[in-house]
Symmetry: C2
């Protein structure tokens, strides 16, 4: 805590604070969806990119709430961290953190959960393997993008794709109702999941896409935070 406070103190001294007075809500990491008391469905998100975005927004002066799934990363300095496990818990934590000026949905939220979580460990009983029937999870990005007084002024989604990255990202932007999509290629060959680097495309509702090839995740976080600060500095409405 002392180290975090010192880091926060020194961070607060260097550089301009264009996001001072803004509240940024960021999700990060995977969600874990239980099958039974010991087994769960997970995904390969490390949380490194989402945590880097949260840290970069805090560096620009925003008050940051980071809702994080299970990760092995330290909490970023000067950021309020809310730890959750499942998609449903993540949605509840995000709703509780509103209102926010900025919402960055960097978590890799499970699309599906197991429909009927078992109360006891599933056993091999000779009747063969179980079949896991899945149910759809709430869509956190779409939920927070719904127009209304609680909608954050700028909603940024992430798209993690293994193929046709740009096409899927544009379709996601339209389908979710968000303002920007940060699209990255997470096919195994890129090493993005769990790695320290990322190759992303920033796609906005209006305007040409930007491509930021092969950067450290910390630098992707700084560039995204700077783009968010520019957006608010130029007084644009969310869809301008």
């Amino acid at each position: 805590e002392i180290v975090a406070a010192l880091a926060d103190f020194f961070a607060s001294r260097d550089g301009p604070k264009p996001l001072a007075g803004r509240h940024a809500l960021v999700t990060s990491g995977p969600t874990h969806e239980p099958i039974d008391p010991v087994r769960y469905i997970a995904n390969r998100s490390s949380g490194k990119q989402g945590h880097a975005v949260a840290a970069a927004l805090a560096d620009l002066g925003a008050r940051v709430t980071l809702v994080s799934g299970p990760v092995t990363l330290p909490d970023p300095a000067g950021v309020r961290v809310v730890k959750v496990e499942t998609a449903r818990q993540m949605l509840d934590a995000c709703a509780a953190a509103l209102p926010a000026d900025i919402f960055v949905a960097a978590a890799a939220v499970a699309d599906w959960r197991v429909a009927a979580e078992a109360g006891q460990k599933l056993k091999k009983d000779g009747s063969g393997p179980p079949t896991l029937v899945m149910a759809e999870n709430p869509d956190i990005l779409a939920s927070l993008s719904i127009p209304g007084p609680q909608r954050p002024g700028l909603v940024v989604g992430f798209a993690a794709e293994t193929n046709d990255v740009l096409a899927y990202a544009r379709a996601k932007l339209a389908r979710k109702g968000c303002d920007w999509i940060v699209a990255n290629d997470v096919s195994p060959a890129t090493g993005t999941f769990g790695g320290d680097r990322n190759s992303v495309h920033l796609i906005r509702l209006h305007g040409d896409p930007q491509s930021w090839p092969d950067l450290p995740k910390a630098e992707v976080g700084r560039r995204l935070a700077a783009a968010i600060a520019d957006h608010f500095a130029s007084g644009k409405s969310a869809d301008a």
Copy 2:
């Protein structure tokens, strides 16, 4: 590497080495069974207990091969670590490490994998959630317990149960064909999975069970390694 070598050097100086000349094969951690390139089925094993057993066996002079699923733990000093992800990879790595005098199966190996792993990320396409059809994984403990010239002299399984711990453990001992079972209660209330303490019962094919209530996992590892050393010192055959 220098730190590990120094730790190994000093560890090699203190205490007797009753397992010198013995090769111990230990499995630890969970396995991850892929659903698609980004999603997988996991379990709550941290690897702390298996890694502690490997370290304790090395402290008693054994040459140790540790086959570990994905964990966030450091490699124990003086132990050869083989890293794997799936149950099938773990079985292959164990088979490749034979012959061994001692096999301790502490990993929480997935009983099932997804029958048809998807080559691309599964998408929400409006047709509703997928149904995951599962297939049975190889049984590593039972496989290495099969009598024959390659069978380790002493085969020790672990049983992680959430209910009826002793009854399930005795049934597992008989079913798998192993010599000892270390049975522990992993119901969520105990905090065993991911925690630093464990309450275990040592059940042997012949002889009364021993109970080691609420100990640090490192101490459970030392007691198990000491029991293994006693077993070989007394010249018992595996089933005596």
